[in-house]
Symmetry: C4
């Protein structure tokens, strides 16, 4: 008897929360000779880098998912299955993370293949977001009233940035896996500052301000608040 979008969000949050927490299972306790544990732990730096990268990516996916569902008021079959496709990608992330950590640690030409698999996974996840936005653009009856056609087209275009850039890193993987790690970090930083997380917070803050204006005097800190102007759609 929970509402449709509520249960879809709770289920999606469950899968995303589990995937992000399972990442730690790839960090194995090394067997080290006496006095060698710090050295041994240090040699596994690709594992920690991969852990933080994937944690950041999944965290950003959660923010983007959350932000998207701010605009969704009903669920249809297409949304259900494009969302499941997205979750398939997110739940898969621990595997390429583990692969990347292992073969960047081992080195050699297998590191190229591992980075390519990681890039391909992220490309697929990005395309799943595009597929959901495209489906929403064709079924605007699923959205709340504040979505218009121009905003939806903009959301589709924006959702292509991430799969295109991740797609290019598939090529980069065959040149330099460490360069891939750097680019992955840059993508994460870009997306963390992107419109999804802006839109997510804009509405509630705006609502609070409207409420505050009517009900109590503005607080001093509000005037200096440097929040960016919200995009209507992420």
């Amino acid at each position: 008897m929970l509402r449709n979008t509520d249960r879809l969000e709770i289920f999606s949050d469950g899968v995303i929360a589990i995937a992000i927490t399972l990442l730690v299972l790839d960090i194995r306790v090394p067997s080290a000779k006496d006095g060698q544990l710090f050295h041994e732990l240090g040699s596994y730096w690709p594992t920690y880098v991969a852990y933080v990268l994937s944690f950041a990516v999944i965290g950003i996916i959660w923010v983007a998912h959350h932000s998207m569902f701010e605009h969704i008021e009903a669920v249809d079959r297409g949304l259900l299955f494009t969302n499941l496709f997205l979750l398939l990608g997110v739940a898969f992330v621990p595997f390429p993370t583990s692969l990347l950590a292992e073969y960047v640690h081992v080195g050699g030409s297998n590191a190229h293949a591992a980075a390519a698999v990681y890039s391909a996974t992220m490309t697929m996840i990005g395309l799943a977001f595009t597929a959901i936005w495209y489906h929403l653009a064709r079924h605007p009856e699923l959205l709340s009233g504040d979505a218009d056609a121009a905003n939806l087209r903009r959301s589709i275009r924006r959702s292509l940035v991430s799969p295109v850039v991740y797609g290019l890193t598939i090529g980069l993987a065959f040149v330099s896996p460490p360069a891939c790690l750097v680019v992955y970090g840059l993508i994460a930083a870009y997306l963390a500052g992107g419109p999804s997380s802006r839109a997510l917070v804009a509405k509630p803050l705006a609502a609070m301000r409207a409420a505050a204006t009517g009900q109590r005097p503005p607080r001093p800190t509000r005037a200096a608040d440097p929040d960016p102007s919200p995009d209507p759609l992420p």
Copy 2:
């Protein structure tokens, strides 16, 4: 103090979300000689097929479970324990998935046994759904007002399709495990397009349309909306 069906749905969603996400733990990082990683990864194709199949099946189970609970307004002991029986089956899925992946990869006559165990698990899960529908038919006081006896009988009959077909694949397992994989995929495709996912989305959309008619002019896309006419019960 959460409502009964709410907490049952949240708990069920938790188990289903965890089971679907644990599937990835069966995809192990292979140890490959330098330059052999792509080749090595490719040899594990049964693992990826099994992963996608089981992900799809559990996703469909979630949709069917959700769809069923749209009609349920109260919980009794029988519903509690038939639902736990269903969750026992869902939580078990990672094991036969792993078994199937391993022994289709290894080949030989053990692949027959592995496919048979997978088919038997899915048959059990299907029967758990039948048991729940049967219990609901005997206790219609648990359902919301829009359920009638004819619909309930139809739901019981429909819920038998999946265990009967999966049951037949137990026999097929001893003929050809790869043929089983194909049939599993066909069952998933059939169920994904089946009445459960149709019913799930029909009600909220209908409600939205009713609300829209009264409150704002219809949007252009609505006229061309090819949504199927909803079944009252999945």
Copy 3:
């Protein structure tokens, strides 16, 4: 901003759902010679028995926890930490389950120790429930209005049944581990039919009936409904 008991229930449900689903990780894919998979799987029967027993026990714990929180309206520090102690026990269950499965499979005198550890874990969980009831009896301001002192004393006494019986199986473990498995099953069956699951469903059904009486004519099946009269507290 979620209500106190809501968030405590959601967190508890999360831990219980994860623990019940992690049980499957103890069921390992055996390595079998060609044609030996069924035989090999069969030799692991203690694993399946332990899986089903622990799944049933955790399922019953969820029902009892849910049932208890039907009566709780506020949370204090004592409730918070006795509940965490309960969750510590529940989250631990996969370990003794695995231990029991392994050493009943291996046989020998270690099976005695494994069964004793399993029994001790269940005894602790039972005592955690007693501790929570005892705390509630001393702080009735946490409960909703329908709880009275006599009912609370009865709940404490009832909550002692399970730890006392499980405690006795610690002794039985040193006589016969297979007998322990049988007794564990009997305890689960007793608890599944016990007052917790009765109380859980009694209130909503009663509420529905009251509502139905006022709003629509009784349905035919209702007259023959064999539901037991509800206990006010489990």
Copy 4:
């Protein structure tokens, strides 16, 4: 369509519940010769100590997180990402727990390194809490009306206790890992009795009392209720 803080709390609860439950995966079934299982299990005491310590710490983190969100009414990007940073730390806990258990069991100088890594992880988690409080102090528009500047400064100061003490145990790790275990336990006991858990329960109880005063006569137990006076902010 779930409210912002609701979904942030549900996601955070999910990650915390999963991390606390995954701890059990570090407790492996030992292989013991016949009759040696109790002895073998006993030799793994650091595993059980580490399990209980980390379970307690994560439980306390959950209480502190919950308590903090009692005061939060809106989410901005800074809160989103400082909260993700906190979850990164919590989700990581199973690794240093496993490391600590393994190398205190093995002994030797590696136990120093393992305890230092554990202490450093806890220090980071403590600093994540400080970062969130600091962010809230700079953006009081995110908080509900009952938070004032003096309380926020007090909350920041208090949130520094835990990272400072854990930070000192990084040094202690190089002197005596067992002493670290003792100090970890003392910190957990201190935090369990600290202002977070007090604040958490004070508001609902106070609300209940106010409601009770207006609606029904006070119960006998209420007069003797030894609850501490609540702090407005944890």
